[in-house]
Each structure stands twice: as structure tokens, then as C-alpha cells.
């Protein structure tokens, strides 16, 4: 069965998972995405407020209907305690960007001003290079990346999205609260 994610109706969706913090869980989830043909745009995993669970944030570019299928399939995995697509209008999302610019010292002041505009920080300075750290949503980091390109990006890494819903809502099901 072909998935309709090749169609132009695909868009970016943020799927948030609460999973048991056990060996092999990442493998199970990544394996499910790969064998059912769902491409992962980004995946982050890290500890939560409870040591026995981890939180995963997976960004996929698929149609809404396919995302519903993804959620139902992921829910079937035994170590997945909860999974939900987060509503795009109701979430706080962040990515972290680290970028190394190779540039002579005379440009540093200019870059410092640019960084400030994007609420970014310069976290390492050497005579012919500096490292900028920025966080924010994907759009903001894309814009910063574009601006920095002209100075000569030596190396860049982005963390992938993490996200939480606004307000009191949490992902943990009632039996875990």
C-alpha cells in the first residue's frame, strides 16, 4: 500500500510519546516507522520528570490521515505508554542550533549584533572562528541559518524538535498521574 505522504497535502506534524525508559525502545519505534514507510523528519529523546519514562518528540511530514495511522500503530507498541499528535496551535516547540562560523576577527562585532537580534549567544570565540548557539522554533532557526550562510558556515547541528502542550494538559494518562 502506498502512503499518501508523497502527495502535496503532506505537512509537518509533531507526535509526542511517553515511553518506558528501557533498552531497545528507540529501536522498536524507529523500526515501526521504517517498516511502515513513515519518514521521520526529526526525532529527539530524553528524560522526563519521572526516571522510569522517557519523552520522544517525532516530527513527520505526512498527510493528517496517515498521521492518525502512525499514532495508532505506535500506540500498539508495549513500551509506549502514551502517544498523541500535538496540535500545532497549542504547543510550545523548541530546537537547539549550534553553528560554527569561520570568519576573521573583524566580522565578530557584526555577528554579535546579528546573534542578538535572534536571541542567540556566542558560546566560543577563537581568532578566526566562533560558535553560535540559538534556540527557538524551526522557522526562526531557518532564518538565522540563512543569514549566517554568507559568513561561511563551517559546521552546523540542530537538535530536532522538542515540544510541550500549553496549559495544564499533560501527555501522561490518568493511571500514571
Amino acid at each position: 500500500m502506498e502512503h499518501d505522504d508523497k502527495l502535496p497535502t503532506s505537512s509537518s506534524h509533531t507526535v509526542s510519546l511517553l515511553v518506558e525508559n528501557k533498552p531497545g525502545v528507540l529501536h522498536r519505534i524507529a523500526g515501526l516507522f521504517s517498516r511502515r514507510g513513515y519518514n521521520i523528519a526529526s526525532l529527539t529523546v530524553g528524560p522526563t520528570e519521572r526516571p522510569e519514562y522517557s519523552r520522544m518528540t517525532i516530527v513527520v511530514r505526512l498527510s493528517s490521515k496517515t498521521v492518525e495511522q502512525v499514532v495508532r500503530q505506535v500506540q500498539k507498541l508495549v513500551p509506549v505508554v502514551e502517544v498523541r499528535e500535538l496540535s500545532p496551535v497549542d504547543l510550545v516547540e523548541r530546537e537547539l542550533l549550534l553553528v560554527k562560523i569561520r570568519t576573521p576577527e573583524k566580522n565578530h562585532a557584526e555577528l554579535r549584533a546579528l546573534a542578538e537580534t535572534y536571541e542567540a549567544k556566542i558560546v566560543d570565540v577563537s581568532p578566526d572562528a566562533l560558535v553560535i548557539e540559538a534556540s527557538g522554533n524551526a522557522g526562526k532557526l531557518d532564518a538565522l541559518e540563512d543569514r549566517l550562510a554568507q559568513y561561511g558556515i563551517q559546521e552546523l547541528c540542530r537538535s530536532g524538535r522538542i515540544a510541550l502542550e500549553r496549559g495544564f494538559k499533560t501527555l501522561a494518562p490518568p493511571n500514571l498521574k
Partner: protein, 568 residues
């Protein structure tokens, strides 16, 4: 249960005893020796020594299919474990409850490419409901309890527990838990089932069809299905695993639909304005080309697995839950809807369906003097046994002939590899079925290609003195592939003719069991009678059938369901 000092290996046997396991199918080996040693002392768990682990897994499936209980199989590390893979994948596709237990090399050697080491939890991740590599013996009782629980509940399926040898030897305080607590399993169903919406669709439908799948067997909802069917009065169609969910002699039952369904059955499905799917998953072998499937039909889809809802065909009204619990509620709601506001007249629909039934029944070439017609063999075995046998099949043309012509009377009577389509399923499944149902007449319908994939386990059937009767519809071809080559590859028979080997009668004799052969139509009746009368062990019957007898009707892969090749 009180705590007691024991080893990991003995804990496995105690857990099997606590779960009421009667039969385990397997082959011992280095990394599972401690468990086999512990098994030596068990009074209730009996072991069947198979000759290949794949057969063990299929025999466990056969047992599970026939009884509804969890099938259990063992394998050692490395090749023992990888040989189980086909059986596990088969169980996964057909939702068969199975616990596979494998030994592995000692914990300190894992990851070192040790002798007979394989990452079987990694390998079986996509084909199990869940699996575990045990890293601490203290986890073992909990894991085994969860393994049996997960295998048999919800949508059943296989699980695998991989136990390194040092864990099997480790001593600890054993206590088998009474219950499980798995936070990520059995997620609560958030929505109230939309029973009223479903009932409204049923009430308004003038061309309804009820579509029964393997989920009916899983939930055991036969009475519930019968009551629903009687109330709604619609034509009933089934998948291959839905056979027997309603007796095929029931006047509303139109039999199996799909790629090799009868024409009248497929026409009925295609023309429906409402399809009520109960425990089924709209597999490509039943829908034909998806975009043209039953174009005017609204869909009510009831299944225990939410991930099956709208996976392939979008449900107008999804109903997630166990058929046995939910279907009576739907029946009640429908009864109310009928009583409150009447229902659409379905009499014209039945006139149409009956006309198709009359005009386009299943049919095959009449039995002449020269060749034995394979469909005729199935019909004759059915008549001679009055259909009162449990049937297992291999995979291929013989399987589809059996599915078409074996009119199933009871649930769990027709046992086959549906989803994965595993050749070689027939004989091992028959072994498991006979052990699960010792008093039943167990018949295998196999093909010559399929039989040769697992024939070594004739030895197992002889060891156990099982009265299984394997009828091999022998056309000296890999028949189903031959059929596709005839129809779609300009009769270029690339690698499908099989040599006339082995001599199946001599093979039977070599395994100390009865071998019979019918080459001509005139020999058939006597051979069938002798085979069915035989006691004291298995019988292998070599029946030479017309090689170009193909399975019709046929919906070519990717064609609409009502676009069938008739073969005339």
C-alpha cells in the same frame, strides 16, 4: 504463590505449569540445555521433539488455532532461534497466540559474535507483539507472565522471550505473579462506540453485506454473530480465516470472497451499499484494487485493533472493541432502531443476490476418466467424512481449492496460513491440531511443493502415533506460480515444474507409516476409503491431479473485485 529458591530454567518450567501449558514444541541445543534439563522433571508439561524449529512453531500455531490456547515453542540460540522466524511471522500475520522461548549465549558473550549467537530479539521485533531479552533472572517470572498475557489478549499474536544461558542457571527466589501491570498495554478506548450511528446505517441500508474475518474466531463470538446475522438478514461473506464463523450451510452465507471467491459472492460485495466488517482487516486478497472496492458502500468496521480501522478502507463508523462484548450491544441497538423507525426493504437485494448465486456458482470441470480433478477430491473427502474433520492446508492451489470446496461447519475447523502464505504449514499444523484435539479426525490438504518444505516432521507424527491423514494433491508443479505463469507470463514456466520426487509412497514407508497413491480417477475412491479407515499412525496419500486445473474464478492482482477470470 509462595516464594521458593530455584533457577531461571526451573522458573521457566514452573511458569509453563502455572499457565497450564500442556504441549511444547522444540529442539534442544547448547544454549537452552538448562531449560530442557528442568523440563525433564515436569509432570504436566509434555515436549514434542520436532525435527526442525520452523515445524515446532507451526505445530504450536496449529495447536493454538484448534484450541484457542497459547501455543508454545522452544529453540536454542542462533540457528535454533532463526529457524523459528517463519512460524513467528506466520503467527503475527494471522493473530495466533504464541509464546516462543529461546536460549541465548551467556550474558557476558552477548554482542561478541559468539558461537551460535543471534540477536533474535532484534530479528523478531517486527514480527512479534513484543519480545524480551532477559537480563536479570529476577525479572523472569514477571516477563513470562506478561508474555502469556500479551500473547492471548487483545488482538492475539506471538511474543518471544530470549533467555541467556547464565540467566537460566542463576538461582533466585521464585514467585509467579498473579497479575500483570503493563502501563503501555491496553490503552483505554477514548471514544464511546458510535452504536447508534452504526444502527442507523444498518436500518437505512437496502443492500447490506456482513463480512466476517478471523476476529470472530479469536473472540469466540459465534453466537453473537449468529444473532446479529439473523436480525440483520443480510448476505454474509467471509475471509479464509472467517470460514466457520457462521456455518457455510447457513442460507445467508455466500462463502469466501476475494481473489478466489465465487463470482456471486464477489458481485454481492461489490454492489453493497453497506459493509459491516466484523473482526476483519480488508486485506488486499479480499478487496482487489482498493480504489474500486465496493464503490457505493458505507463501512461499519468493528475490530479489537484500533490500528486496523481506516488503515486501508475508511470506516464510516468505526467501532473499536472485542466482538463478544460489543456486537451484542450493536445487535440490541439495531433491534431498537428497527423497532422505532422500521428499516429499508432488503427483499429486492436478496432477489438480486439469489439470481447471481443461481447464475454464477462455483464450478469446476466434471470428473472424467483420464485425470483426477483436485476440486473433486476435496468434495469426495468432505462427503466421506460428512465434513466432520479438522482441516489443515499448505499454501498454493490446493489451499484455495480446499477453501472453496470444503464447506466449513464449525469454528476453528479450517486451519491455514492466510496472511503470510507459508508453504509447508499443513503437516506441522496437523500435528499441533491433533495434539490439541486428540479425538478429532484431522485431515491435511497439501500440495507436492508445499509438503516438501516440512516433510521431515513426518517422523514426529509417527513418533506420536498421530492418525493424521495428509492428502497431497500432486500436480508435479509449484502449482499456484504455474497458474500465474500460465495467465500472466505467457506460459513461460520458469522453475515451476517439479520432478516426480520423492516417491511419496516409499517415503511414507521409510518413515514407517502408510503411503497410498491414486494415479487415475478409477483408483481414487478406494484410496480415500483406505486412508480414512487407517488407524495406528499417519497416512500419506499421493493423489495425481490434473496439472492444468487452475483455481477459478480469479481476480488478477490489482484488478477490481468484480473483474474475474473464469478459466473457460
Amino acid at each position: 504463590m509462595a516464594k521458593e529458591k530455584t533457577t531461571g530454567a526451573k522458573a521457566v518450567v514452573k511458569a509453563l505449569e502455572a499457565e497450564g501449558v500442556e504441549w511444547v514444541f522444540g529442539v534442544p541445543g547448547g544454549a537452552i540445555l538448562p531449560i530442557y534439563d528442568a523440563l525433564f522433571d515436569s509432570r504436566t508439561v509434555k515436549h514434542v521433539l520436532v525435527r526442525h524449529e520452523q515445524t515446532g512453531a507451526h505445530a504450536a500455531e496449529g495447536f493454538a488455532h484448534a484450541t484457542g490456547k497459547v501455543g508454545v515453542c522452544f529453540g536454542t540460540s542462533g540457528p535454533g532461534a532463526t529457524n523459528l522466524v517463519t512460524g513467528i511471522a506466520d503467527a503475527y500475520m494471522d493473530s495466533v497466540p504464541m509464546v516462543a522461548i529461546t536460549g541465548n549465549v551467556s550474558s557476558s558473550l552477548i554482542g561478541s559474535d559468539a558461537f551460535q549467537e543471534a540477536d533474535i530479539t532484534g530479528i523478531t521485533m517486527p514480527i512479534t507483539k513484543h519480545n524480551w531479552l532477559v537480563t536479570d533472572v529476577k525479572d523472569l517470572p514477571r516477563i513470562l507472565k506478561e508474555a502469556f498475557y500479551i500473547a492471548r489478549t487483545g488482538r492475539p499474536g506471538p511474543v518471544l522471550v530470549d533467555i541467556p544461558k547464565d540467566i537460566q542457571n542463576a538461582e533466585f527466589e521464585f514467585e509467579y505473579p498473579d497479575s500483570v501491570n503493563i502501563p503501555g498495554y491496553h490503552p483505554p478506548v477514548r471514544e464511546e462506540p458510535r452504536l447508534k450511528d452504526a444502527a442507523a446505517l444498518i436500518r437505512a441500508s437496502s443492500r447490506p453485506v456482513i463480512y466476517l474475518g478471523g476476529g470472530v474466531r479469536t473472540s469466540g463470538a459465534y453466537d453473537e454473530v449468529a444473532q446479529f446475522v439473523e436480525l440483520v438478514g443480510a448476505p454474509v461473506v467471509t475471509t479464509v480465516h472467517g470460514k466457520g464463523a457462521l456455518p457455510e450451510s447457513h442460507p445467508q452465507c455466500l462463502g469466501m470472497f476475494g481473489m478466489h471467491g465465487a463470482k456471486f459472492t464477489n458481485y454481492t460485495v461489490q454492489d453493497a451499499d453497506l459493509i459491516i466488517a466484523l473482526g476483519a482487516r480488508f486485506d488486499d486478497r479480499v478487496t482487489g484494487k482498493l480504489s474500486t472496492f465496493a464503490p457505493e458502500a458505507k463501512i461499519v468496521h468493528l475490530d479489537v485493533d484500533p490500528a486496523e480501522i481506516s488503515k486501508l478502507v475508511t470506516a464510516t463508523v468505526p467501532l473499536v472493541g472485542d466482538l463478544k462484548l460489543l456486537l451484542p450491544q450493536l445487535t440490541e441497538q439495531t433491534r431498537k432502531a428497527f423497532a422505532a423507525s422500521g428499516r429499508a426493504d432488503i427483499a429486492p437485494w436478496w432477489i438480486k443476490v439469489s439470481a447471481w448465486r443461481e447464475k454464477h456458482p462455483l464450478h469446476h470441470a466434471p470428473q472424467g476418466d483420464q485425470f483426477i480433478e483436485p476440486q473433486h477430491v476435496i468434495e469426495r473427502i468432505w462427503e466421506k467424512t460428512q465434513g466432520k474433520a479438522l482441516v489443515t492446508t499448505g499454501v498454493g492451489k490446493h489451499q484455495m481449492f480446499a477453501a472453496q470446496y470444503w464447506k466449513t461447519i464449525w469454528p476453528r475447523q479450517f486451519i491455514t496460513s492466510g496472511g503470510l502464505g507459508t508453504m509447508g504449514f499443513c503437516l506441522p499444523a496437523a500435528i499441533g491440531v491433533q495434539l490439541g484435539k486428540p479425538d478429532a479426525l484431522v485431515i491435511g490438504i497439501d500440495g507436492d511443493g508445499s509438503f516438501q518444505m516440512t516433510l521431515q516432521d513426518l517422523a514426529t507424527a509417527v513418533d506420536l502415533k498421530l492418525n493424521i491423514k495428509i492428502f497431497i494433491l500432486n500436480n508435479l508443479f509449484l502449482g499456484m506460480v504455474h497458474q500465474w505463469q500460465d495467465l500472466f507470463y505467457e506460459k513461460r514456466l520458469s522453475e515451476t515444474p517439479l520432478s516426480d520426487l520423492p516417491d511419496l509412497v516409499k517415503l511414507a514407508e521409510a518413515y514407517s507409516c502408510l503411503g497410498l497413491r491414486a494415479r487415475k480417477p478409477s483408483e481414487l475412491e478406494d484410496v480415500l476409503d483406505r486412508a480414512l479407515a487407517h488407524k495406528g499412525g499417519p497416512v500419506i496419500v499421493d493423489i495425481r491431479t490434473r496439472p492444468d486445473a487452475h483455481v477459478y474464478p480469479m481476480v488478477p492482482a490489482g484488478a477490481p473485485l468484480n473483474d474475474m477470470i473464469d478459466g473457460e
